[in-house]
């Protein structure tokens, strides 16, 4: 494809370059949701009885729960009976995650096009990848190398088979099945995801990363990620996501649980680029995700960094429960909305331990007719002597049809707490663009200069290669949104 037709295509689809469909034979469960479907998913994965029971309990709870309506997002009610809850490429079924050599060539090609070659020596040096295609993990790289240090990095299904005691010990301890509507749904029907365990005192020698791809039609993706960093361990983990362009909305309801023991650090970065729907808001992914980290041990640290650029609707609040004394929670976020996208995202910092500290830096960029909301909760519990929080929420508006909203909630139950909140709203003005143009910088580059300047405090938290990727992604997303 010539550069010209490629850029024309990009213009036509609103900058979404990942919208292609992979043609693979799928094993798909017919649409619909009931206990039999839950049993079927569990059976397909050959799960132990305790896990099936856990799923069923979650399913029963979900049936009783009301759909949450407090977020600043609007969409028609979802018909949960019209969704298929399991889709897997046929070739990978039964034998679990394939070794890198015997992945379906079509799927391999897909990841190549996404810039994620599933060949170890070709991928960014020092990054191990777990590739999740619809409901199953299709490949995990560098496993052997990691295993030498006792690090477990595998698909969730495999973890259930190979390390049931670890999964059972931690599953649902951070996000209980009844936590919220989508978490309950996920607990009932989750299909795959990644599992990470870093043993005591081990510093994971490379970035771990999961690449989620929704391909099948009419399916939901319900992955589950569990990361445990034992005492003194360190891990940096990154997830990326894309999906084909389809006219129907598709549901993505993931759950991520992190557990950090004494002196452990988990850094979790997300570059989210699900298909956002077309210019008029047709199609796109509903991204309803529950992410939470438990700083269980003293001096533990959990840091969330997210760059949210896709999805028709994003409903997501990566949070930290700071239970250990002197533990630290961080949330750095860039959320970009354009066209008709809606984002309601933020974080919760729950201070339980003494001298716990949290930092929140949220950067919302709205363009087109989109709506972008920050929603955050800082809660200081009575036992959290000397707790401190600093929050900064900045909004950048492009054009005058978009909206930015900030909902910071603060609940302080300990008088020794120090909580600081700053918020700004600014607009990219024509005068700024013109000024930069008169210095030789094109209008598009002027916009990215301003936007990158706005986001730099968040980008600097991302691993180097991904910061560059995230920057490019934003540039692509903002093409044509000004001038």
């Amino acid at each position: 494809m010539s550069a010209e037709t490629e850029s024309l295509e990009r213009l036509a689809d609103g900058g979404y370059a990942y919208g292609f469909v992979t043609d693979v034979e799928q094993d798909t469960v017919p649409p619909g949701l009931n206990e039999d479907v839950v049993r079927l998913i569990s059976a397909k994965k050959e799960e132990p009885q305790w896990l099936l029971d856990w799923r069923l309990e979650a399913f029963r709870a979900w049936q009783q729960m009301p759909v949450p309506d407090w977020a600043n997002v609007h969409y028609p009610p979802i018909d949960y009976q019209a969704i298929s809850y399991y889709a897997a490429p046929k070739k990978s079924i039964g034998e679990g995650p394939a070794s890198l050599e015997d992945i379906d060539p079509e799927i391999k090609k897909t990841y190549d096009r996404l810039g994620i070659p599933l060949v170890e020596q070709e991928f960014l040096a020092g990054v191990a990848v777990d590739a999740v295609f619809d409901s199953v993990s299709v490949a995990t790289s560098y496993r052997g190398k990691l295993a030498e240090q006792g690090i477990i990095f595998c698909s969730f299904s495999e973890a259930v088979r190979e390390h049931p005691e670890l999964v059972r010990q931690y599953l649902g301890t951070v996000v209980p099945t009844r936590d919220n509507y989508y978490a309950a749904l996920n607990s009932a029907v989750f299909s795959d995801g990644s599992f990470v365990y870093i043993p005591k005192g081990v510093r994971c020698p490379m970035e771990l990363s999961t690449y989620f791809r929704i391909n099948a039609k009419n399916t939901g993706q319900f992955e589950r990620t569990l990361i445990v960093a034992d005492a003194g361990a360190y891990v940096s983990y990154l997830e990326g996501c894309t999906a084909p362009m389809r006219d129907e909305n598709q549901l993505h309801a993931a759950v991520v649980e992190l557990v950090a023991m004494d002196d452990a650090t988990i850094k979790y970065s997300t570059v989210q680029n699900w298909y956002p729907g077309d210019k008029d808001g047709k199609g796109g992914i509903y991204n309803f995700v529950t992410k939470r980290g438990l700083c269980k041990g003293a001096r533990s640290k959990i840091s969330w960094t997210q760059v949210e650029t896709g999805s028709a609707i994003t409903w997501k609040y990566p949070s930290c429960v700071l239970r250990g004394d002197d533990s630290v929670g961080e949330f750095y976020s860039v959320a970009l909305t354009r066209d008709c996208m809606q984002a309601d995202t933020g974080t919760k910092m729950i201070h339980m331990g003494k001298n716990t500290r949290s930092t929140i830096v949220s950067k919302g960029i709205s363009a087109g007719r989109s709506q972008n909301a920050y929603r955050g909760l800082v809660r200081i519990l009575p036992g959290a002597d000397g707790a401190r929080n600093y929050s900064q929420c900045d909004s950048l508006l492009m054009g005058d049809q978009c909206g930015a909203h900030t909902f910071p909630y603060v609940e302080v139950q300990n008088p020794s707490a120090q909580v600081e909140h700053e918020a700004t709203t600014s607009k990219v003005s024509d005068d700024q663009i013109f000024y930069l143009q008169t210095r030789g910088i094109s209008a598009e580059d002027a916009v990215s200069l301003i936007v990158n300047g706005f986001c730099k405090e968040v980008f600097k938290e991302l691993p180097m290669e991904f910061a560059v990727e995230a920057q490019k992604l934003l540039e692509l997303k903002l093409e044509g949104s000004v001038g």
Partner: protein, 256 residues
């Protein structure tokens, strides 16, 4: 270098420039003076290509090329520079980083390689010294929180780094203290060369004491009513613009 022929221009459908003729040759410094609202900034904006400023007749040639068809950034890459009367603040964008993006955009256009980081820094530091600007300003966001005088100084810094062929300075001397005025003049004089030209818009003779112009033009009501040598600026300082039919211009505009 710059050739303006019978230029008419309007803003919001209102005609502001009503037939400007102006020729600036390489190596020359021209000054434009004139009462408030006479169209000086409008002329600068038309030359730079500001959206909303529309040339309705006439032409503007820059080294023989028609400027009016070019995007603002293309004009800049061709070697045009405008020092703004009111420079805008750009929060979040580091001054040094911005300068580098600008220099490299121009170099790329000329088919030159990007400057490497060290060479660039050295050059900027040298120029910052020339305009007596503390290096801490390089690390701050573009113009954010700068005082009025500091913003003007930053314009001159950009000019000395970008080394344009033609620089238009729109009241860069306004609001400057005596020392800063000297800095602006030094910046211009340092760049003066047989290949370069300047169009200096000012209200005050004192700038022209330091930057001695070759030609002074008087603009009233969207036309150049008189041109002459440096002594014209002195005359204006003494007599004001009453000689040039200001009142007549005002009444005509009221009718329009």
């Amino acid at each position: 270098m710059l050739e303006i022929k019978n230029l008419h221009a309007s803003v919001d459908g209102r005609e502001i420039l009503r037939g400007i003729d102006l020729v600036i040759r390489p190596g020359e410094v021209h000054a434009i003076m004139g009462p408030n609202g006479s169209g000086k900034s409008t002329l600068a904006n038309i030359i730079a290509g500001r959206p909303g400023y529309e040339a309705t007749a006439g032409e503007v040639l820059f080294d023989g090329k028609s400027l009016l068809e070019l995007a603002p950034e293309e004009r800049a890459r061709e070697g045009l520079f405008l020092a703004f009367q009111y420079p805008v603040e750009i929060p979040g964008v580091n001054n040094l980083y911005f300068l580098k993006a600008a220099v490299n955009a121009v170099r790329k256009h000329r088919g030159e390689e990007e400057l490497d980081a060290l060479d660039f820094l050295e050059k900027v530091q040298q120029r910052a010294g020339l305009v007596k600007m503390d290096e801490s300003f390089l690390k701050r966001p573009v113009n954010e929180g700068f005082s009025g005088g500091e913003k003007k100084r930053n314009e001159i810094l950009q000019m000395t780094v970008l080394e344009p062929k033609l620089a238009v300075l729109d009241e860069t001397d306004s609001g400057l203290d005596i020392d800063a005025l000297k800095v602006v003049a030094d910046g211009v004089n340092a760049l003066r060369s047989p290949e370069r030209a300047f169009l200096v818009i000012t209200h005050y003779q004192r700038l022209l004491d330091h930057i001695v112009p070759d030609v002074v033009h008087v603009m009233v009501d969207g036309v150049i009513v008189r041109s002459g040598g440096p002594q014209l600026a002195l005359e204006l300082e003494e007599q004001g613009y009453s000689l040039y039919g200001r009142a007549e211009g005002e009444s005509r505009r009221a009718q329009a």
